[in-house]
């Protein structure tokens, strides 16, 4: 079983402590869970930046930054994550373990106190957030939403999935929309914040060289804010059959074309056949020895990158490659041949072995990263079963060639998206 200790605070926050002497740091991550829905996604995504502008005890960004520098550069980060049709709003803190700082102690306590103050003691004007901060952060957030086009690889994948899942909550952009943003006021946001903090299921992970009992006691003393009844996040809809393949072409002033194919697999993390799908995806496109890299890049010289990856909570697979616009037909043909080859079971024992060892290596590597350790337990909880490394490796080892060919039947092309230059192919 996974190596962590779980307890539930009186107010319903789940605390997970992962003791390990491996790292020089302590990582604290507090994750709030929400249903991904277009009515609320913008507000949830905007909250972290407003809270980080200032609390009653740290009323400006500058005061906060100075206090964190004082704590040897304790880093405070927030992130909006989409896992299936669930939006996660995460706050984290990365600090040096004070055993490496001669003459220092209590660094974790001091950091947690700032963390808690920012989250639960915001700077207010009456019954609303500070108006200046809201105005400025709305502008900043609008830049984040519009900034998706700056990274053409991420943009093309996002657009493909949006087109593909048009009718499903999954198509909602994790940062929300400019239209929703415009409607927010300091008052409405503060109301939303109170509701958000009270009803969102929340997990607090702490990982580092820690004494479990002491850390529980510390957390229990600090995170005392009042919460209400939790709002359950409904499950993600996975079982959707694609109809006719949809082709979407978008023109933009770009140098390189981006070809993205969206597939439905019908399988999610937690399903019995998931590990076969993981092997399928590995043989097809997640390693340099995989079919996509070998055939699109190495043999045909059409691309620098060509890979596939899974969205494991929604049961999707995406293939992405950057090509000359003129090579669209050729690249698409080669990619479809690789998918077809998988369906026919045309892969060697070596492909199978290499992929299995590559994935095995990845599972073992996760134990070396505090972020990966937390992410694994999070994924496990969403799937209803948290697996330790040994169990993951056993499941991986049990996958047979037949299992892979069987899941290949499930992998169905839904949407072909192409971002191309103006007047291009």
């Amino acid at each position: 079983m996974a190596n962590f200790h779980h307890r539930r605070l009186g107010n319903g926050i789940n605390i997970f402590i992962h003791p390990t002497a491996k790292f020089k740091t302590i990582l604290v991550q507090l994750i709030f869970h929400r249903q991904l829905c277009k009515e609320e996604v913008t507000q949830s995504a905007l909250l972290p930046s407003i809270l980080q502008r200032g609390s009653k005890n740290y009323p400006t960004r500058q005061k906060l930054a100075l206090s964190l520098e004082e704590l040897y550069g304790t880093e405070l980060m927030s992130e909006v994550i989409k896992k299936g049709e669930r939006q996660l709003v995460s706050y984290s803190m990365d600090l040096v373990h004070d055993q490496y700082l001669p003459g220092e102690s209590q660094l974790l306590r001091k950091s947690l106190e700032i963390f808690n103050d920012l989250l639960t003691n915001p700077l207010l004007e009456g019954d609303a957030f500070k108006a200046d901060y809201v105005k400025q952060e709305k502008e900043q957030h609008e830049r984040v939403i519009k900034g998706i086009i700056n990274d053409k690889i991420a943009y093309s994948v996002e657009r493909c999935l949006q087109e593909m899942c048009k009718e499903e909550p999954f198509s909602v952009f994790k940062y929300g929309t400019v239209e929703q943003l415009a409607q927010q006021t300091p008052f409405s946001l503060y109301n939303f914040y109170r509701q958000f903090m009270q009803e969102s299921p929340a997990d607090l992970h702490i990982i580092g060289d820690l004494d479990v009992e002491e850390t529980f006691a510390l957390v229990e003393k600090i995170f005392t804010y009042k919460r209400g009844k939790e709002k359950v996040v409904p499950p993600t809809q996975v079982d959707i059959q694609p109809g006719e393949i949809r082709y979407v072409k978008e023109e933009m002033d770009v140098n390189q074309g981006k070809l993205v194919l969206g597939f439905r697999t019908g399988l999610r993390f937690g399903d019995k056949d998931y590990f076969a799908l993981l092997m399928y995806n590995g043989i097809l496109g997640s390693f340099p020895h995989s079919k996509l890299f070998q055939n699109v890049r190495e043999k045909a010289s059409l691309a620098y990158y060509a890979y596939s990856r899974l969205e494991k909570h929604k049961g999707l697979m995406v293939i992405s490659s950057g090509i000359e616009a003129d090579n669209y037909e050729r690249a698409l043909e080669i990619i479809r041949q690789q998918v077809e080859a998988m369906r026919k079971g045309e892969f060697s024992q070596e492909d199978l072995d290499n992929t299995r060892s590559g994935l095995r290596n990845q599972f073992l590597l996760e134990e070396d990263s505090p972020y990966a350790i937390i992410n694994r337990s999070l994924d496990g909880m969403l799937a209803g079963q948290v697996l330790g490394t040994e169990e993951l490796l056993q499941q991986l080892a049990a996958v047979t060639r037949e299992d892979i060919v069987k899941v290949a039947e499930n992998v169905k092309l839904d949407t072909v998206y192409f971002l191309t230059n103006k007047g291009g192919a």
């Binding site: 390990t20 002497a21 491996k22 020089k24 740091t25 400006t60 960004r61 500058q62 930054a65 100075l66 520098e69 004082e70 704590l71 040897y72 550069g73 304790t74 990365d94 600090l95 040096v96 490496y100 700082l101 200046d132 400025q136 502008e139 900043q140 830049r143 984040v144 519009k146 900034g147 086009i149 700056n150 053409k152 690889i153 933009m252 002033d253 770009v254 140098n255 390189q256 390693f287 340099p288 020895h289 890049r297 190495e298 010289s301 059409l302 691309a303 620098y304 950057g322 000359e324 070596e350 290499n354 060892s357 590559g358 095995r360 290596n361 073992l364 590597l365 134990e367 070396d368 505090p370």
Partner: protein, 431 residues
């Protein structure tokens, strides 16, 4: 050969070090409890090394831009296949990168470490280039170059270097251009290989839960069986770079949501490496963080005015023969931001840096250095690069500790010279 030990007591880390004839430097940092074992084999050869002469040879060589990176791509291939596949068989993942000054080959694995190490040593020492495979790679690298043409941050940065430098090859894209790589052939690759991939110009760094002596012995045995002849000193030739910048302003339009701005300062205080260079790097980085970082008055004013976002950043690149700072990020109004930065720099130089700001920043720098030692990649990628600059990276904390406020204030006056400043802007294309 004798093993030496480099220790850092605050970090609680130890490096085992051996020099293997004819001159390969091998470093091992044991990390107990980690599953990952990570190794790099690096050559002191980067994109800026396009002109050179080897001591004892007459011929000065001038090679096309992008050769170091091209060579990095091609070295993975040999007569029977490619090294990627052989690492895959061992369950390891391999990769390589080229920057301005170094090329590094690496793998990361959790099992079969000693076999992987042997493979790394073997493939880097077995060049195999054919006309056909060189031609095929031009299509792949061509797409890599095209990908970067659409990357606004990358374009912003290289446009800035093009404005700061008149002749120095640091201004040229690491991968070269579609035009320059078209001139590359297998003979050019072999020539560069024979010069820069000699053990005396390379270093091996291993980090993970490994037996240090066994690693050192294995590397030594692998190198010694090849009977390398000593190589004369490689003279790296550079055009004379005047202290003046090439131009003070450069612009480009791309499909972006909002403009981007970088300003950069061209260093004058050059010509040395070793610990003094490390000191200059740390002092300048601290100065930049104090003037432009998230706890500075300037940063907070610009943020509240909506001119910058929280990705706004300032950093310094320290090399013996060229150095520069880069400051900036995305902005709603590059012209206004430029004016406010110049004004802020003038004010900062008048006011100087306070003792309190200096001490705050020192604590932060110390914490950040300690934190980065969680990452095996960070250690193994940085240590050899600093070693080639004759710097012991473990001395970072000591130099930081010895640094004085005066030295950081001196960097403020010396480095942020407005007549050595250039500005690069990317503006949105109308869609």
């Amino acid at each position: 050969m004798k093993t030496e030990i480099i220790e850092q007591s605050l970090l609680k880390e130890k490096i085992f070090w051996r020099r293997v004839e004819p001159g390969l430097q091998v470093f091992v940092l044991p990390k107990k409890g980690y599953n990952k074992k990570y190794a790099t084999y690096s050559a002191n050869f980067g994109s800026i090394n396009s002109r050179f002469i080897v001591e004892g040879e007459n011929e000065e060589l001038q090679v096309p831009d992008g050769v170091a990176h091209f060579l990095e791509h091609k070295l993975f291939e040999d007569e029977e296949g490619n090294a990627f596949d052989r690492f895959a068989v061992l369950g390891a993942s391999s990769n390589a990168f080229t920057n301005f000054t170094n090329t590094a080959y690496l793998f990361s694995t959790t099992e079969s470490f000693y076999q992987c190490l042997e493979l790394l040593l073997d493939f880097v020492q077995t060049p195999y280039f054919t006309d056909e495979s060189v031609e095929k790679e031009k299509g792949i690298i061509g797409q890599e170059i095209r990908m970067y043409e659409d990357n606004p941050q990358w374009r912003l940065f290289f446009n800035l270097l093009g404005a700061l430098y008149q002749h120095h090859p640091v201004k040229i894209d690491i991968a070269g251009t579609v035009e320059s790589i078209s001139q590359i052939n297998k003979d050019i690759l072999y020539k560069c290989y024979r010069t820069f991939y000699h053990p005396s110009n390379m270093a091996v760094f291993v980090v993970g839960d490994v037996d240090a002596e066994r690693v050192l012995d294995q590397v030594e045995a692998n190198i010694q069986k090849r009977n390398y002849q000593p190589l004369g000193e490689i003279k790296r030739l550079f055009p004379i770079e005047p202290p003046e910048i090439a131009k003070d302003h450069v612009e480009q339009s791309l499909t972006v949501s909002e403009p981007l701005l970088n300003i950069g300062f061209k260093e004058q205080n050059l010509g040395y490496d070793g610990q003094p260079l490390l000191k200059r790097e740390i002092a300048t980085d601290m100065m930049l963080d104090i003037v432009f970082g998230s706890s500075s008055k300037l940063y907070n004013e610009l943020y509240e005015e909506g001119l910058i976002d929280d990705e706004f950043d300032a950093g310094y690149v320290a090399e013996k023969d060229y150095s520069h700072s880069v400051i900036g990020g995305e902005t709603s109004d590059p012209d206004k931001l430029f004016g406010r930065l110049v004004e802020g720099i003038k004010k900062a130089k008048q006011a100087g840096i306070s003792h309190a700001a200096f001490e705050h920043q020192r604590r932060k720098a110390m914490g950040e250095f300690l934190k980065s030692f969680n990452s095996l990649e960070f250690i193994a990628n940085n240590f050899p690069a600093y070693h080639f600059k004759k710097i012991n990276f473990f001395n970072y904390l000591q130099v930081l500790h010895e640094l004085t406020l005066d030295e950081v204030n001196q960097r403020l006056q010396e480095h942020l010279a407005l007549d050595r400043m250039a500005c690069s802007v990317i503006r949105p294309k109308t869609r």
